[in-house]
């Protein structure tokens, strides 16, 4: 049963070896002439004044929370989608009941302006 996963392992191994070879050649062959102003992070020729690792806009957290909610709900659609013919109209009604809070939540989020950028 697990034999069908051999392919995934093989392709993972080959890709890791390939990437290691490419990076390895690059790190060997490339020149290395370091001096301070070359190592500066790119800032259009200026010295960076502040660290870039600062607080970030709360919008991105909102997207992350929405993603968790909707992606988990999407996963619940998968088993239903594969067997919904056997479940018939009862299963369809159930998935409607399941979708309703999702749609209401999306609509609430929308009206609250959580989706505006």
């Amino acid at each position: 049963m697990l034999t069908e996963y051999t392919g995934v392992l093989v392709i993972l191994a080959i890709s890791l070896v390939l990437i290691a070879v490419l990076l390895g050649i690059h790190l060997r062959v490339g020149p290395r002439r370091e001096f301070p102003s070359k190592q500066d992070p790119f800032e259009c020729g200026e010295r960076p004044v502040t660290s870039p690792r600062r607080r970030i806009a709360v919008k991105f957290y909102v997207v992350a929370i929405l993603f968790v909610v909707f992606d988990v709900e999407a996963i619940y659609f998968y088993p239903w989608g594969t067997v919904f013919r056997e479940l018939g109209w009862f299963g369809y009604a159930s998935i409607l009941v399941f979708t309703l809070p999702l749609v209401v939540g999306l609509f609430y989020e929308w009206m609250k302006g959580g989706l505006d950028w």
Partner: protein, 386 residues
């Protein structure tokens, strides 16, 4: 068993990384030159011969390999090296489940032209696609540069958002085919269906005889004919997921320099570059498999080819011939889908970031939910479920 898997993997990786990805970088230049009415990609030459620019991919690799490897001061050196690897590995291993041919019986042995025939293939694609988000996020965080950080913020929010739409958009497709296994999905598309049968099934109307050929019209059982809306949603979402133009806000060079890979050079940048172009091939393969019948030849099913050719040359030869025909058919469709993405990339200007996010949450997500519910109701009504 393992040897067969190894041979198939090596073959598909050679085709994709060794042949297709370099050719796509050439196509990108050549097609942009054609679409912008200029000559292009004609500088690299060996002994004065340019081979219509086909040497450029090779020149690229040599250049990327011998460039200096610059790590910015204050960067997290481990994560800075890990980020391109995290971007390239998921792009490559997504190929494991894409079938580039069906299964063929030669006497006792069966040859399946797919690396890993997982029964949750479509879910595997999404799982691996989620891992791809780590590359840009780590790259932006590790680089210690403002531009990289902005780029990685944009990349993470955009990729997360479009993953939701992507997940919903294919539900309709596997409701039709009733499988998540991509090989079975391709087999299910190796037939035809009567295009207007749904009119009779849903509304109880009988098409008048004067419409003759229209009512008898048969289309290949392809995802694009059964789920046209899902195709549009899927194409949009997965192109945004790959961060290529017109959705390349995470690296929008006119706003934030180069986004999350501003501080990358040499092969480290090359891996990001490579993962993007391999992503183009993965997308083309997925769209071909889900919406365009995979390896199947329209109107000629596997049994018909084997029976027809086998009548003259024997079944063994016919099966081998069928395998070859299916592989060529898959590659042709793959090339067409790659061309489609390239044409879109050079036709549309980049969207603003707010447009990208609004498109996802306010248009694509409601549409994909509606598509699922309508598809379910139509199928249940057509099949007269209890």
């Amino acid at each position: 068993m393992v040897v067969a898997v190894f041979v198939k993997t090596a073959f598909i990786l050679f085709v994709v990384i060794g042949v297709l990805a370099p050719i796509i970088t050439w196509v990108e230049r050549k097609q942009s030159a054609l679409m912008q009415n200029r000559i292009g990609a004609n500088r690299a030459s060996v002994a004065g011969m340019t081979f219509i620019g086909l040497l450029h991919p090779a020149a690229d690799v040599i250049k990327l390999l011998v460039k200096e490897d610059v790590v910015p001061a204050g960067a997290n050196r481990v994560l800075h090296l890990l980020a391109p690897v995290m971007a390239a590995v998921p792009a490559i291993i997504a190929f494991a489940v894409i079938p580039f041919g069906g299964s063929y019986h030669f006497g006792e042995t069966t040859i399946e032209l797919v690396v890993a025939n997982l029964d949750w293939g479509l879910l595997y694609i999404f799982a691996i696609g989620s891992l791809a988000a780590y590359g840009p996020i780590l790259a932006g965080w590790a680089s210690n540069s403002g531009w990289s950080f902005l780029g990685s913020l944009r990349a993470s929010a955009q990729m997360l958002s479009y993953e939701v739409t992507l997940g919903f958009s294919v539900v309709g497709v596997f409701m039709v085919f009733q499988t998540l296994r991509l090989t079975d999905m391709a087999i299910a598309q190796d037939t035809t269906f009567r295009a207007f049968a749904f009119v009779e099934g849903l509304f109880g109307l009988t098409l008048p005889a004067s419409l003759g050929w229209i009512s008898a019209l048969r289309l290949p059982n392809w995802g694009i004919f059964l789920q046209p809306l899902a195709f549009v949603l899927f194409l949009t979402a997965i192109m945004a997921e790959n961060k290529r133009p017109p959705f390349d806000t995470p690296e929008g060079e006119s706003e934030i320099v180069a986004g999350y890979h501003t501080e990358y050079s040499g092969m480290r940048f090359g891996l990001f570059y490579m993962s993007e172009f391999i992503g183009v091939v993965v997308i083309a393969g997925l769209i071909t498999t889900i919406f365009f019948g995979g390896w199947s030849v329209p109107y000629l099913s596997q049994e018909m080819i084997i029976a027809g050719v086998g009548h003259f040359f024997g079944v063994g030869f016919a099966t081998g011939f069928c395998m070859l025909v299916h592989f060529v058919s898959f590659m042709l469709k793959l090339a067409a889908m790659i061309w489609l993405q390239m044409a879109l990339r050079w036709t549309l200007p980049r969207f603003r970031y707010d447009q990208v996010m609004n498109l996802c949450w306010k248009i694509l997500l409601p549409l994909s939910l509606a598509n699922i519910l309508v598809t379910g109701a139509v199928i249940l009504a057509l099949e007269g479920a209890a």
